[in-house]
Amino acid sequence: MSLTLEQVQRIAHLARIEVSESEALATQGHLNGIFQLIEQMQAVDTRGIEPMAHAQELSQRLRDDAVTEGDRRAAYQAVAPETEAGLYLVPKVIE
């Protein structure tokens, strides 16, 4: 498998990372090297093997539906780039 420059740009967009043409070219070389390593997996017959998502196969715990955390909005928003009236500010998305 070999990724085209166009595929690299598409992946970068999926990941929401802006890449210039020259960065995309360098990334293409590196990613193709890494995928060459990953391709070793394809030779293995894994039919009938259950995928292992986690080291400890436990079901998720449930907790009581009760408030356990206090209101720390001011402390958490103090580290945000831009807030106003308790809200996070981003560029306008609805005209």
């Binding site: 690299v8 929401r16 890449v19 090297g33 997996m41 080291a55 580290v79």
Partner: protein
């Protein structure tokens, strides 16, 4: 003082030979003197540390101290600590002052009374094996300053090796505690997945990440793990496992210990001098009464490929939270919302982190999920099953931690695949979720070599016992680099 074990430091504090404030000052002075050269710490806050030390002294005076109260420790900068800048080695979090404590920090500071000396340098978001991907520049290996300390917990390793801290915390997703421990002559332990809480530990690959201690001896690691481990309802994968004293079996004799030697770890691909040191360590274990048996981990060669699908997939999901909205870096100039995300992430992440996010986005994308992600998860099962079979024949598995000693700064930085292969012996342990250690076992060309010990699930006390008894008859772990006085 700087060569004392944690137990000896605790005795000195209890006997009032030294106060925690004095001990903390001693290490802060060493950091001020040596850190500009080694770059092991990215944040130091003397005022905060000394305040903690004064609190520890009050506990010592009041008789409410625990076994580690007042002892200074270096914290990997992946653990959120309230009021401390917590960067994870990234420009993305360069300005992030954590509003809360990770469970590990809370347990070590508030409960055990350990004193944080500062936050240690690391590969960006723990993605690296050399510490060269840090936004704050590479860390130098105290054993040879032209070489890497390993990674990603390279700052923690270099800090302890240079005696800038008596011990440190690390995290290990594919070898990030064990490999730097090996390269810097330390003892490091990655616990069974789920033993140490991940709450407040900035996530890289959530099904693999595990925190643990890095120190000079197995005894130190056992005492530290006692302060770090425990069930935490704030971590959805924390194991509700009975509280253990990890130091309980340290002195047990090793007679009858069955050591499994995977033939795949003793073949080609490992430096000959490293292998000679590992073989000598195994002979030492035989003298201590252990027996060896050859075992096989037939799928271990697939661990690096499977890991570089699974870890990036989880990383691409975890790191989607860094979008310039709620915390961390935001680009200066941007157009619409999408443009803000794209520019923030392009400027905030370094090259290796971007590569891994992109690999993850690709293997999870439509049309590739089965071929890559599911295939990797199936291979993960095969790798875990290999260990189940091997542990039917032995108590502990041993081999090299790293295929080479510390490599030169810049040597592998341009070639990601070569860098990835430096974790060839450690990654399978994370995929299976097993506990693993690295223990100093000699030198090759003047550089430290690590022996890896792998245990069965919840086998920490057994591993620490095996490491401790070895350290009672060898002195590799007591050696310190030249020029650190």
């Amino acid at each position: 003082m700087i060569e004392k074990s944690l137990k000896q430091l605790a005795q000195a504090l209890a006997a009032k030979d030294i106060s925690s404030v004095e001990l903390t000052t001693l290490f802060l002075d060493r950091i001020a003197r040596h850190n500009p050269d080694i770059n092991a710490f990215v944040t130091v806050d003397c005022e905060k540390s000394l305040k903690r030390a004064a609190e520890a002294d009050a506990r010592l005076a009041a008789g409410t101290a625990g076994p580690l109260t007042g002892i200074p420790i270096a914290q990997k900068d992946i653990f959120c600590a309230e009021g401390w800048t917590t960067t994870c080695g990234s420009k993305m979090l360069d300005n992030f002052v954590s509003p809360y404590d990770a469970t590990v920090i809370r347990k070590m500071e508030a409960e055990a009374g350990l004193v944080s000396l500062g936050k240690t340098n690391m590969d960006e978001f723990a993605m690296g094996s050399s510490n060269e991907t840090s936004f704050f520049g590479p860390v130098k290996n105290p054993w040879d300053r032209s070489r890497v300390p390993g990674g990603s917990s390279g700052g923690s390793a270099a800090a302890v090796a240079a005696r800038l801290a008596p011990a440190a915390t690390g995290t290990d997703t594919g070898g990030s505690i064990r490999q730097p421990a090996a390269l810097c002559n330390l003892t490091g332990l990655k616990p069974t997945y789920g033993v140490v809480s991940r709450y407040g530990m900035i996530a890289f690959a959530s099904s693999l990440d595990q925190g643990g201690p890095m120190a000079r001896s197995a005894e130190d690691c056992a005492l530290l793990l006692n302060s770090m481990a425990g069930f935490d309802e704030r971590d959805s994968t924390s194991l509700d496992h009975p509280v253990e004293d990890y130091a309980r079996d340290l002195e047990q004799p090793l007679a009858g210990l069955k050591i499994g030697l995977p033939k795949e770890f003793f073949g080609e691909g490992c430096d000959a001098e490293v292998m000679a040191a590992v073989q000598a360590a195994i002979r030492e274990y035989e003298k201590l009464g252990a027996t060896t048996v050859e075992v096989s981990l037939p799928n271990s060669h697939l661990s690096v490929p499977a890991y570089y699908v699974i870890a990036p997939a989880e990383a691409s999901s975890n790191l989607s939270r860094f979008d310039g909205v709620r915390y961390g870096y935001r680009a200066q100039d941007y157009g619409n919302l999408d443009d803000m995300y794209m520019k923030t992430r392009a400027q905030g992440f370094g090259a290796e982190v971007k590569r891994r996010i992109m690999i993850g986005a690709y293997v999870l994308s439509h049309g590739y999920y089965d071929a890559y992600y599911l295939q990797a998860q199936r291979i993960r099962r095969l790798i875990a099953n290999d260990f189940v079979e091997a542990f039917k024949q032995c108590d502990v598995i041993m081999g090299p931690t790293s295929p080479s000693t510390a490599f030169k700064l810049g040597e592998k930085a341009a070639d990601p695949v070569q860098m990835y292969l430096s974790d060839i012996y450690t990654i399978a342990v994370n995929l299976a979720g097993l506990p693993g250690m690295s223990v100093p076992c000699g030198f090759a060309g003047g550089l430290p070599v690590g022996l890896q010990l792998i245990g069965n699930y919840f086998g920490e006390a057994r591993l620490l016992n095996a490491a401790h008894r070895y350290q009672q008859t060898t002195d590799w772990h007591l050696r310190s680099p030249a020029g650190i006085e």
